[in-house]
């Protein structure tokens, strides 16, 4: 089984470290430069969400394979306040921080598979996969 890389996110340094680890693995798997940039942007956004709303959590990345396809899985998990209304944060134009962040709909667009599991007061786990084409 492939090794999983975990990066703790509790500062902006963590965000950069997660990006770096993500780009390295994406390159190894064989993603082109555009997809590398997409995956790292997705990791950035996920890590920033952790940093901004949950203060701390982790990003883990690993190579996955399914039905003859290779891909890269990015999991963001935290024990933060959770998301009250997942449907509304998945809506375009919804940003609680008021910044022009890509937000979760952006991450969903950048990756191929996207799943979100959030419990109020418990935390949030977001699983996303980009498949190699």
């Amino acid at each position: 089984m492939q090794v999983q890389t975990r990066v703790d996110i509790h500062s902006e340094w963590g965000i950069v470290a997660a990006r770096q680890a993500g780009r390295k693995l994406a390159k190894e798997i064989g993603f082109g430069s555009v997809d590398q940039a997409r995956i790292t942007t997705a990791i950035s956004e996920l890590a920033r969400n952790i940093y901004l709303y949950a203060n701390q959590g982790e990003i883990s990345i690993e190579e996955v394979a399914s039905a003859g396809k290779r891909g890269m899985k990015v999991v963001a998990s935290d024990r933060g306040p959770g998301i009250k209304d997942v449907r509304s944060v998945m809506e375009d134009g919804f940003t609680t921080s008021g910044g022009l962040g890509a937000g979760l709909p952006g991450v969903k667009r950048l990756m191929d598979d996207f799943d979100i599991d959030s419990e109020e007061e418990e935390g949030t786990t977001i699983i996303s996969i980009k498949w190699l084409r």
Binding site: S33, V34, P105, G106, R109
Partner: protein, 338 residues
């Protein structure tokens, strides 16, 4: 997909090498046309940058490392632009959906209003125009002739506009429809409508309304109002306008409200003018239109039919405020002509 990509690659390669050789405007023009095709094919900005780099690499053979590396930065920035672009597209699609939903709702709303043109029998002539500021209207109007030739008319105005106002408007219609026995009793009719409104809408929504009916046998207009913009009574004999004042609380404020009923003796060619505040709150520049400007317009067109009068008054007021309605506009004129 792969085929499209490779043909795009070829086209772009040809354009870029042409340009690097000749630097002519014609090639740049082709590039501009090419961009339209790319956008149509949903090519993201980051893919475009990447296409440029790989084509450039092939043409130039050797791209300096610095130039190559600089594209990492450009690509990263463009991923953000690409996301914004896609979000914009999806918001635009959603706006289209909402708009078509609103169109359906607006059609439904139209079906709530009287559809037959007002009849001009029984010695009385009716003219009416109602134009929403947006797609849906918060103004309601009603007219109906009973078996004895008596003509009931109403204008109601929901404070606010758009969809919430339109939803309230439908309630007024059903309330009036369910009170056939009170069509000749303006006061009690408003009391009942008030009860329905008070029970069914939020405290912060208000509706004003005026209801009246004309009896051609005795040439009288009976009416009552609920906080509504006063209409006008035009006396043909003296060529003067009077305010059609009524006393009564707006609908929906208090459960127990009673409404005074008034009677006007209507002589030949006298006019009764009912309106919504979209008429009196017409603005030109920073000024509101004065009520005597409205009566002047009505007088100006008084040689025409009632329907032509309201249409001309609307057209003049619309032009006066540069064709931008701020509020729903309803104007109704009733004139005795026999």
């Amino acid at each position: 997909m792969k085929q499209i990509e490779s043909s795009l690659y070829q086209i772009y390669k040809e354009m870029l090498s042409n340009y690097l050789e000749s630097k002519n405007e014609h090639t740049l023009y082709s590039a501009q046309q090419f961009s339209k095709e790319m956008i149509e094919q949903d090519m993201s900005p980051e893919d475009m940058i990447s296409l440029h780099l790989s084509v450039f690499r092939e043409i130039i053979q050797y791209v300096p490392d610095d130039v190559e590396d600089s594209f990492d930065v450009l690509l990263e920035v463009m991923v953000g632009y690409g996301l914004a672009h896609r979000e914009h597209q999806s918001l635009r699609d959603r706006q289209r959906e909402l708009e078509s939903e609103l169109n359906v709702a607006a059609q439904m709303q139209q079906s709530l209003l009287p559809s037959d043109p007002p009849s001009n029998e029984n010695g009385v002539e009716l003219g009416l125009i109602s134009v929403p500021a947006g797609k849906m209207s918060g103004d309601y109007y009603h007219y109906m002739t009973d078996d004895h030739g008596r003509l009931g008319v109403a204008v109601a105005d929901v404070i606010g506009k758009g969809v919430p106002a339109a939803l309230c408007m439908s309630m007024i219609k059903y309330a009036i429809d369910s009170l056939p026995e009170q069509r000749l009793q303006p006061g009690p009719l408003l009391e009942n409508v008030n009860r329905v409104v008070e029970q069914n809408i939020d405290n912060h929504m208000f509706i004003t309304m005026v209801y009246g009916f004309y009896d051609p046998d005795v040439h009288q207009f009976h009416y009552a109002g609920a906080g509504h913009e006063p209409g006008f009574f035009y006396r043909a004999k003296t060529d003067t306008f009077e305010d059609l004042k009524t006393k009564g609380l707006v609908l929906g404020l208090s459960k127990k409200t009673s409404y005074n009923e008034y009677v006007a003796e209507v002589e030949l060619n006298d006019m009764i003018v009912l309106l919504s505040d979209g008429v009196t709150e017409c603005r030109y520049g920073n000024d509101f239109i004065e009520r005597d400007q409205i009566t002047a317009l009505i007088r100006k067109y008084s040689h025409l039919t009632a329907q032509e009068i309201v249409e001309n008054v609307y057209r003049d007021l619309e032009r006066l405020q540069s064709f931008q309605l701020r509020d729903d506009f309803t104007l109704l004129i009733l004139r005795r002509n026999m």
